[in-house]
Point group: C2
Chain length 465, copies 2
């Protein structure tokens, strides 16, 4: 990474951590250059990058100042709902369909924009598969999936602190099938499953289609699942499984710290429920390395770890997996009964791509980009949204969860935004109840001035609610 970028990132972190307060003047270019032992032009470049990211503003002849960022939202109130079957309204399906309309500025789409796919490296990998293994790509590769791919996946999981053998891995059609199969393995219709609230709506769809009863657990937008509430729920109701995303939650971007993860696992053991760990955003942690997955601490296969490459590589490849441990054989049977196998070409494409060694380079790039995009989005939200608006500042992924002042209706904002060719996902989609004044904003698109202008427009729409 260029030196000025490293310095800009360090400063951005210090700003986020509060070392420099909103409105505060930053060190002069000369002082920064001296302190960091770099040239003045490097210091200037670092400030200019922060300016482009809208974290700092230059004032004539006075230096650079911290722009007030959006504040973090308050922890979600405890929904305190009894377990119940879901009856998602037609609104959810409509939102699903609308956010994919290609003419919109896609703040509603939690998928990386094409600019963030490693398209050239994937094309090379596709060429290699077509040239050297095409016949194999046409052959039936039954569950658990191609061995070479499973080996690559097991190696990736090492970086998440998980010692899995290729035998532990079952390849699926994306993370959605991984989670669906895990739920089918762990539960019967009518069973109670605990979910984060707010929770990714794909999981709510799966829970509804499997006729499971859902209990919502309040989830702090910063620190994740409210473990006290989860414990009370588990003492009161026969919870069979808990779906959660300890690394980086969709929609809030919340992450659980080491201590909370240990407590979650201990609670699962004590109250005898399983955990379906969704780690689809795990590879997008903003740091140099990713924190260990919950699965890394799992000694008795209480965690079914689910992930895919849809957020970290490209969404159309549809290769996901479950690290299922001792549940492996039953999971293979369920996979065979559900869809038989994942596509041969996709399996070999991902194997080839992972073998090429390009993934880490790609991750370093998109982690940096997403962090930068989020910083810029938060700065714009701070400037352009109604006073009292709060937004999460996640340590991974590309999503921020925006809480409008109470009384403002995010579904109305979503509808008015659609009319102005902007998509967001209103909060009501992510739970049975509540979050009417919240929405999810995705920053997985190159942050051009047009994109920033769209966000400013969204802010003006919100101000007029």
């Amino acid at each position: 990474m260029a030196l000025y970028r490293t310095i800009a990132d360090k400063l951005a972190r210090q700003i986020q951590q509060g070392a420099f307060q909103p409105g505060q003047r930053l060190p002069s270019v000369r002082v920064l250059a001296q302190r960091m032992a770099v040239s003045v032009s490097t210091a200037v470049a670092a400030y200019q990058l922060l300016e482009r990211r809208q974290l700092v503003a230059a004032r004539q002849k006075s230096g650079f100042y911290v722009i007030p960022p959006a504040a973090l939202p308050a922890p979600a109130r405890a929904p305190g709902l009894r377990p119940a079957r879901l009856q998602l309204s037609g609104r959810v399906a409509a939102v699903f369909a609308n956010v994919r309309e290609p003419s919109l500025t896609p703040f509603g789409l939690a998928l990386p924009a094409p600019d963030y796919w490693p398209a050239a490296a994937l094309r090379r990998a596709a060429g290699a598969v077509r040239r050297d293994a095409f016949s194999r790509s046409l052959a039936f590769t039954a569950a658990p999936g191609d061995f070479g791919l499973r080996r690559q996946i097991a190696m990736r999981m090492l970086q998440a602190g998980c010692l899995q053998s290729p035998e532990d891995v079952v390849v699926t059609n994306g993370c959605q099938e991984a989670v669906t199969l895990s739920l089918r393995l762990l539960t019967s219709p009518g069973d109670v499953v605990a979910v984060e609230s707010p929770c990714y709506y794909g999981f709510l769809l799966a829970l509804q289609s499997l006729n499971l009863r859902v209990v919502n657990i309040a989830t702090d937008p910063l620190t994740g699942l409210d473990l006290g509430q989860l414990q009370r729920a588990a003492e009161r109701w026969p919870i069979r499984a808990c779906i959660c995303s300890p690394g980086c939650s969709n929609p809030t971007g919340a992450g659980m710290d080491e201590n909370a993860r240990a407590r979650l696992l201990a609670l699962a053991r004590r109250c005898d429920f399983h955990i379906v760990e969704d780690d689809i955003l795990g590879e997008l942690a903003h740091g140099e390395t990713r924190p260990p997955a919950l699965k890394a601490r799992d000694s008795d296969d209480r965690v079914l770890y689910c992930s895919s490459f849809s957020k970290s590589v490209a969404p159309g490849i549809r290769i996901g997996w479950v690290a299922a441990g001792r549940h492996r054989q039953r999971l293979i049977e369920l996979m065979t009964a559900n869809s038989s196998a994942a596509a041969g070409f996709s399996q070999l494409l991902m194997r080839e791509y992972l073998q090429s060694g390009h993934f880490d380079k790609h991750l370093a790039r998109i982690r940096r980009e997403y962090r930068g995009n989020l910083q810029m989005a938060l700065a714009t939200i701070g400037r352009c949204f109604p006073p009292g608006t709060r937004a999460t500042s996640p340590r991974g992924g590309f999503l921020t969860w925006v809480e409008l002042p109470r009384g403002l209706d995010a579904h109305t904002l979503y509808e008015r935004a659609l009319a102005e060719k902007i998509s967001i996902v209103p909060g009501g989609v992510f739970a049975r109840k509540g979050f009417q004044n919240c929405f999810r904003l995705s920053c997985a698109l190159p942050w051009s001035s047009a994109v920033n202008a769209a966000l400013e427009r969204l802010g003006r729409l919100a101000s007029r609610l």
Copy 2:
């Protein structure tokens, strides 16, 4: 097709239809040439082809004689079982795993051998996708799937007599997911589903995993479902759905005639159940054209039509579909909840391949090959298996259902065959009970003399049971 092939095929059909009896002398080369208005050398070539297919044998200075073919098995006895949940034994999973062992002569594998994939045309199509639509292949193509592919599929369905619009088609991960989603749409756990007996074991796995109760309907290896028994079952039990393969059944190769199809649909209307039509072997009808699907007669969306390209193109592509009509919206929701979408590359590959116009040429070739392979297999079975062995002579696909004389155990034969590097699938796998003396034999592999020798070896193993 070469003229001698056309003549050989006509003669083969006459032999199968009983116009020439086993042991009977066929017309002399001179008479045949005269009757068909061809040269003597063409007539000789036709007889030599039939000889290679082991339908006729030459006797020195006496001409060509009909080799006794294997007889058709008697209709399966009515299983007469009450609806019950399935508890498939570990045997099924073991068979599943064993038949895929690549070192075996794969009579157990109901998948086309690589020689029967249109690999060159698919490679061209893959090249075109990689060159012209690679970025699109990496994009998320949500359910119901790529429009161009759905248009091609709707056009294919015209050939099966079905007037479907692209809007009616929902693309799935193979036929297995198509059938699973259809079952989930039509039933709740505990509901009763009627199945053919014997029935494809993938469907039994799906029914078991969905916790459905199954009632077996006797299925004639020639004419398909016993409609009288289906009617009695529907009058007695609350049947919600019936899975069947009216075009060509797996494992028996049975097909229902026009009259039986009309009666089946009328029965479904009268007793108010739905039909999940599995037409995965439908394109492999041995005639010049394929008969219409059951769906073609369906005026009130009582039939959910499921298929894929796994048997007709290549098994690793994993593109299936449901023609769901008015159930479309709910099916899209279930697909979204189950696995989100099918792989982008596979969808575009199949679209490109179907657009290329190669499919019909390919089908003409494999239909001819499978018919020839089945003829040769039946001749060998007639010569080499214990007296009293019967085998079906299907009008489509590549499967024959072999019934050994009563008392001979096909599971033992399966085990001994494995030891000799030959796979078959024993009949017990295809039902809750019965079929102990039956097995499924797949002829989707080039009929070399080594393959024929393996079948002869299998016959010797059967004789020693």
